[in-house]
Symmetry: C2
C-alpha cells in the first residue's frame, strides 16, 4: 500500500520540521492539536500541517503514523493508538521514532502488532531538518522498507534491515555519547565553580583541551531548553546500557544534570527565543546558583 | 630553607620522568625501592635516582618529600611518613601530588602537620615530562611558594595561592572531564557492540562526531595500561562531585569501565611495551569478549 497521508504526533520542534519535509514531498500531513500550546499551533499553521483535532480522526485517515515525542510519553501514546486501531479496525503503519531503549521499542511493537498495525522501529539522529547536516531517520523491522520513499532533502532515511529495534539501539548509543558528554562537561564546570577553581579550570581546558572547551562554549549556554525532554531519554539510555551489562551511572548522572537544568530560569526559553548572546560563564553562574553550596567542602584555608 | 635533596616516592611512570627533570635542575633525588618491580628499578637506575632502600633514610635526608603514587595508596603512605617524621623529629616539606579529593588532601594535611612537617597540596596535569606538552604541577597552601624553584623545561610549576586543597580540586575537575570522557567513549562503543550496531555507530561517529571518533581511535586501544591505577582516582572524583552536590554517577560508571579494562589481557602492557599497532576494533573486541552477553536484550527478530 502506497503511503499518502501521514499522521504526525506530535508536531513539536523535531516533528514540525520533519512535517515540512513530508509536505514538500507531496504527502498529506495531519495531526491532532488537542491540548497543545499556542506555539505548536502556530508552527503547524505556518507549516501547513492539518489539525483534525481528534486522534480517532487522525488514526482513521493515516496510512502511516509517526510517533515523535518525548520518550516518557511514547508508551502511553502507543497504548492510546492501539485502542483506536482496535476500535476502527484499520491497519496503518506505525513508526516509533522516539529515543527509547530497544526493550521499550519491543514492548511497543508487541502492543501495536497485537492491534493489527504494522510496526516500524525508528531512530532520529541529527538536528531537525534544515538546521545544518541532513537529519538521519534510521528504520528497522519487517516493514521498514515501506518508510524509505519518505526521505528527501535534509531527511535521509536509512534502513538497518529486518531485525527489530536496531534503530532504537543505534539512537541510544549515539545519544549516550553526545548527551552524556554535554552533561559531563556541565557537571565538571559546575564542580570547578563549587570548589572555587572555575577560572583556572577554564584556562586549563582552553589550553590543553581546546575541543572540549569549544564544545562547552557552543552548547552549555542553551542546554536548559531541551533539558526536561531529555531526562526521560537519559533513563532509556541507562536502561539500554545496564541490560548490555555496562554501567548505568553515566546516564544516571546525565539525567540528574538535565533535571537540575530543567528547573533553571533558562528552561522557559524555546529554540526560537533563546538568548543567543548568553556566554558560558553566565549560564554556569545561573546553574551554580541553583545548587546549595556545602561550605565544608570548599577550599578551606 | 633551600631545597637540595628531594625524596621521590614512588618513582613509577610519572614519578620517574619528574625525577629526571629534578636531576637536570641539579637536585639530589633519592627514593626507596623496597618491594618495587624490576621495571621501576631499571627506570630509576637509568635516570640516576638514588635508592637509599629504607624509607627512614629517605625521610631523614629529604628537604622535600614528593608523594606521587596511585591515589588509593596516598593516605597509607602519608601515615607511614608521619610516624617516621615523629620518630626522627625532622621537618621536611611534604608535597601531596596525587589525584585525590580536596577532602582527602585535607585529611592528609592534618596528619602531616600534626607530625610537624610542612604540607603542600599539589596536583599534576598533563602527560609525564618529555611526552608532548609541558607537565603542570599545581601547588597550593601556606608553603606552596617553596616548591616553585623546582620547575624547568617540561615541568611548569603554578601556584594557586595560600588556600589549602585548590590544586587537588583543580586536578579532580580536570581528570573528571578527560577520564570521564574516555570511559564514556568506551562504554558507548561497547554498548554498540553488545547491541549489534557497532559498525553503524562507528559510521555515524566518523561522519557527524569526528572529534569524538578521533579521540576514540587515539586513546581506547591503550586505555587498559593505566586502568587499574585510575579506579581509585575515579572514586576520588566521585567523592569530589558528590560533596559539591553534583552527580557521582558519571565517575561511578568510569570506575566500572576502568575496572573492566584492568581485568583485560591488555592490562599487563606498560607504556614502554604496549602494542602501538592495535586498532580500536581490536581493543573493543577484546573488552566486549569480557562482558557476558545477555541475549534477551540483543536485537530480537
Amino acid at each position: 500500500m502506497a503511503i499518502k497521508t501521514i499522521g504526525l504526533m506530535s508536531p513539536g520542534d523535531m516533528g514540525n520540521e520533519i512535517g515540512k519535509v513530508l509536505l514538500k514531498n507531496k504527502y498529506r500531513v495531519i495531526t491532532s492539536l488537542n491540548g497543545r500550546s499556542d506555539r505548536t499551533r502556530d508552527l503547524c499553521f505556518k507549516a501547513g500541517i492539518e489539525d483534525l483535532r481528534d486522534l480517532h480522526m487522525v488514526v482513521n485517515e493515516s496510512d502511516l503514523i509517526l510517533s515523535i515525542m518525548p520518550p516518557s510519553e511514547a508508551e502511553v501514546f502507543a497504548n492510546e493508538v492501539m485502542k483506536i486501531i482496535q476500535d476502527l479496525k484499520v491497519e496503518p503503519l506505525y513508526a516509533e521514532c522516539n529515543a527509547i531503549a530497544p526493550s521499550t521499542s519491543e514492548r511497543i511493537r508487541l502492543l501495536i502488532s497485537s492491534a493489527g498495525a504494522l510496526y516500524v522501529d525508528a531512530g532520529i539522529i541529527g538536528p531537525p531538518p534544515g538546521r545544518g547536516e541532513a537529519t538521519r531517520l534510521y528504520v528497522s523491522g519487517k516493514y521498514a522498507e515501506q518508510i524509505l520513499p519518505l526521505g528527501g532533502e535534509n531527511l535521509k532515511i536509512i534502513s538497518l534491515g529486518k531485525d527489530w529495534a536496531r534503530s532504537s539501539a543505534l539512537k541510544m548509543c549515539y545519544a549516550a555519547l553526545t548527551k552524556g558528554t554535554m552533561t559531563l562537561d556541565t557537571a565538571v564546570l559546575l564542580a570547578g565553580k563549587q570548589l572555587g577553581v572555575y577560572e583556572e579550570l577554564k584556562t586549563e581546558f582552553s589550553e590543553s583541551q581546546p575541543e572540549a572547551f569549544n564544545r562547552m562554549n557552543n552548547r552549555i549556554p542553551w542546554l536548559s531548553t531541551d533539558a526536561r525532554r531529555w531526562i526521560g531519554e537519559m533513563n532509556e539510555i541507562r536502561n539500554t546500557l545496564e541490560v548490555s551489562q555496562l554501567p548505568g551511572g553515566f546516564h544516571r548522572g546525565a539525567a540528574e544534570i538535565f533535571s537540575l537544568l530543567s528547573e533553571s530560569p533558562l528552561a522557559i526559553e524555546t529554540v526560537e527565543n533563546a538568548d543567543r548572546s548568553r556566554t558560558l560563564d553566565e549560564a554556569i553562574n545561573i546553574f551554580a546558583e541553583m545548587i546549595r553550596i556545602n561550605p565544608e567542602e570548599s577550599n578551606q584555608s
